[in-house]
């Protein structure tokens, strides 16, 4: 029997047990995480919502634990960046106990990953989640028998209802001190090959050598580097041995290993899973298929956009609610109160910091609360419903062909759609794409042509009632997206991506989860946005006092004039540098004052949509793609946005 290597037991000075929730995408890891820690991370019905590690603390009985929610993982041999995040954490010994969360009804497909996790030599718990759906389709799992065969606790869980969570807690605690499970046996020489490589390894590793050896056998580059650093001979012997053994398989090693692991899993499940394969085609399945077919899917998409975005977010959120907040709440009630309150301050310039033209309260807070908040709230509500229904993966199937033309695959639809919620978050989600080329293209398109919810909402509210502007905006932004994608795909070298994606079932969104998610997002948004809005107000105030602001505006005036816009819009673009939505809100304000004609609205709307992303997104671009790429994108986007604005103006003026 194996023992835990010394450094794997809870380290000196470490006051808690580190528990990692690991599993395939969309199996409910985030839901389990929430049950264990009480901390909310995004739960959605599509693969790839979590792309980074999220930690939370909790007490299981008297034991303090730190629980980590990890990005979905198909196999320990990673094929995308977000999988690499999880893999690195596991291989670096970042978990004292691993909980493998599986979707119970897909246990036969997911058990091979359990076996890989066992190779890492860590205490393990297998959580059979989404047990309710498994029961509903008449699946029975003898989990006692499976536990016996695997040598680890197997717990049935329904995370969304909290069922089985208590058992899961107990199992985790039990595993902290339990002896390790035996390693599964792989036939046809695979197990022996792994053992031979393991015996060859002498260096110190943060995890069990068996897991390392298995990955060396599969030729994993990152692990080979790790071995090269740890071995006295630079890993040459291990590498040579692995190559020799792999050559003896008659098939590429990763494939051979996967096949044997699958067989071992089948063997373990013999007599454990009892199921009548369900062949009834539900109406949800039918609807799901239709949604991904052009004939039905395209009209459905247009309907969703029209009802959800235009009517609900633009008209209701951006129109009715914003009007009410602006006129009845702020103008009639709050602003006069504030003016009176600050009347006591004798110096007008200081007073202006709070309640003047660029005042923190009259501008910053008002923009955030009265214009952006209702719009963003409505958007997040709409978005959460769609997200939980499982509509987005269908959209990915529908758009795969179009995206192929842009050098992307249908997988990129998910980050693009998320971009409409928040481009910053979406830029991070480009990790789920397979190649660097796809990630760069997706990042560029997000920065250029995908307006985030706040911006989109404000712009929709602005355009509402101006059909010419709506159409122009749609054509210009979609055209830019397609054109830049098409050209970009031709300019950037690299191979064509292939498309592979799990399609989760269509589910009825749960009201509780939808509301919770909406509230969490609005809260997060608000906390992120308000300080920036206030900061912008302060900077504007300083600029205004010192005269720098007027100078900059005068400098911008010719640029704005070229676009055929009134000089006041110069400040909108400057505000846009802080956040695009802040700029858009400024535009909205100008429109309310009747300063813009339809052509100008269209031009300003298009330019601002394409314009530089907000500071947060830019920083995320730097984090994910590096300074060089991020700056190059910025250098491309800024003149490009103005160029398109110029073109739109010229065309519209010529036509009308």
């Amino acid at each position: 029997m194996r023992t835990v290597p010394n450094d794997a037991t809870i380290g000196v000075g470490q006051r808690y047990v580190r528990v990692a929730l690991v599993g395939q995408p969309n199996v409910g890891k985030s839901s389990v995480f929430r049950r264990l820690t009480g901390r909310y991370t995004t739960v959605s019905n599509f693969p790839g919502t979590s792309v980074e590690l999220v930690r939370g603390h909790a007490h299981l009985d008297w034991v303090a634990v730190e629980v980590t929610d990890t990005p979905g993982l198909h196999a320990l041999l990673p094929s995308s960046d977000e999988e690499r995040v999880t893999r690195r954490m596991l291989v670096d010994g970042g978990a004292d106990v691993i909980v493998h969360v599986v979707d119970a009804k897909n246990l036969p497909l997911q058990l091979p990953l359990t076996l890989q996790l066992l190779e890492l030599g860590r205490p393990l718990v297998l959580a059979l989640n989404i047990m309710d759906e498994a029961e509903r389709v008449g699946m029975r799992i003898a989990h006692g028998l499976l536990a016996e065969r695997l040598g680890v606790p197997v717990v049935a869980v329904v995370a969304v209802e909290g069922r089985g969570i208590e058992d899961l807690r107990r199992a985790i605690i039990h595993q902290v001190t339990a002896p390790l499970a035996p390693v599964p046996h792989y036939a046809n020489g695979v197990r022996e090959a792994i053992a031979q490589i393991e015996a060859q390894l002498e260096g110190a590793y943060p995890t069990d050598r068996m897991g390392i050896a298995a990955l060396v056998l599969q030729g994993d580059e990152e692990i080979l580097e790790m071995v090269a650093a740890a071995e006295p001979d630079g890993g040459t012997a291990a590498r040579a041995l692995a190559a020799r053994l792999a050559a003896g398989f008659g098939a590429p090693a990763p494939y051979r290993v996967a096949v044997e692991r699958q067989r071992a899993a089948e063997e373990l499940l013999r007599g454990v899973v009892e199921v009548a394969e369900d062949e009834t085609v539900r109406w949800a399945d039918r609807l799901g298929r239709q949604l991904s077919r052009p004939l039905f899917g395209v009209p459905a998409l247009i309907l969703v956009l029209y009802v959800g975005l235009y009517l609900f977010v633009g008209r209701l959120g951006g129109g009715v609610v914003v009007d009410w907040l602006e006129t009845s709440v702020f103008e009639r009630w709050i602003n006069p109160q504030l003016e009176r309150l600050f009347q006591g301050i004798p110096w007008p310039s200081v007073r202006a910091l709070y309640v003047g033209e660029y005042g923190m309260l009259t501008l910053g807070v008002r923009y955030a609360m009265a214009i952006v908040l209702p719009i963003v709230g409505a958007f997040f509500l709409f978005f959460s419903v769609l997200e939980d229904s499982g509509y987005f993966p269908r959209l990915a199937l529908l758009l795969d062909r179009v995206f192929k033309r842009l050098g992307l695959s249908g997988r990129a639809v998910i980050p693009m759609v998320l971009g409409f919620a928040c481009d910053t978050m979406a830029t991070m989600v480009t990790r789920t794409l397979d190649t660097r080329r796809e990630r760069v293209l997706a990042t560029l398109l997000l920065a250029l042509a995908i307006p985030c919810s706040a911006q989109l909402g404000v712009i929709l509210a602005l355009l509402a009632g101006e059909p010419l502007a709506v159409v122009t905006w749609l054509v210009a932004v979609t055209g830019t997206f397609l054109l830049v994608g098409y050209v970009g795909a031709r300019v950037l070298p690299g191979e064509r991506p292939t498309f592979q994606m799990e399609v989760p079932p269509l589910r009825r969104p749960r009201l509780g989860n939808v509301l919770l998610k909406t509230v969490t997002r609005v809260q997060w948004y608000f906390l992120e946005v308000l300080p920036l809005f206030l900061l912008a107000s302060i900077l504007l105030w300083i600029g205004n006092l010192t005269g720098v602001w007027q100078l900059v505006i005068r400098g911008m005036a010719p640029v704005v004039a070229v676009l055929g816009l009134p000089v006041e819009t110069a400040q909108v673009f400057l505000l846009g540098f802080f956040r695009r939505d802040y700029g858009a809100a400024g535009l909205f304000d100008l429109h309310q004052m009747g300063l813009l004609d339809p052509v100008q609205i269209a031009v300003a709307g298009v330019t601002l949509t394409l314009f530089v992303p907000c500071i947060a997104q830019f920083l995320m671009m730097v984090q994910e793609r590096g300074w060089r790429v991020a700056l190059a994108m910025l250098g491309f986007i800024t003149p490009f946005a103005f160029g398109v604005g110029f073109l739109v103006n010229a065309v519209l003026r010529a036509v009308t």
Binding site: H74, A75, L77, S79, D103, K105, N106, P108, L109, Q110, P112, E133, V137, M139, A251, P252, P254, Y255, A258, V259, Q262, R263, E266, V275, E277, D278, D285, R289, S292, R293, P294, P393, A396, L397, L398, D400, R401, K404, S409, G410, D434, R496, T498, F499, Q500, M501, E502, V503, P505
Partner: protein
């Protein structure tokens, strides 16, 4: 047996190098490839609702095939094609996997006998 198949089978018997081996019972001879055999067809040749068992993956060392393997598309897995357009969707147990033509054509399957194509 249709004449083309018959001819190809005849040729297959004559030129085993090219066709791999002879295919009995009039099954079409697959195009030569490393994992082609007489009873196996490519996943893209299945009809909607047809059920089959994976026999092998073409070019198993490639990243695309390894990704398929990680998703559970491995020899022995039973799959059912549930959609062909705009992309291929196969059902394995209770989960569904979407593949474009290129990925799907890497999967060679053997039709499950006795399964009526409903």
């Amino acid at each position: 047996m249709n004449p083309v198949t018959w001819l190809r089978n005849g040729l297959g018997a004559l030129v085993p190098r090219v066709w791999g081996k002879e295919c009995p019972r009039g099954t079409p001879v697959p195009a030569p490839g490393p994992c082609a055999d007489c009873d196996s067809v490519s996943l893209v040749d299945l009809a909607v609702r047809e059920r089959a068992r994976v026999s092998c993956l073409e070019d198993p060392g490639s990243a695309a095939s390894i990704r398929l393997a990680s998703a559970g598309v491995l020899p022995g897995t039973t799959v059912r094609l549930v959609q062909r357009r705009p992309v291929f969707v196969l059902r394995m147990g209770f989960s569904e996997l979407a593949l474009d033509r290129e990925a799907a054509s890497r999967v060679r399957v053997r039709r499950e006998v006795g399964e009526p194509a409903r």
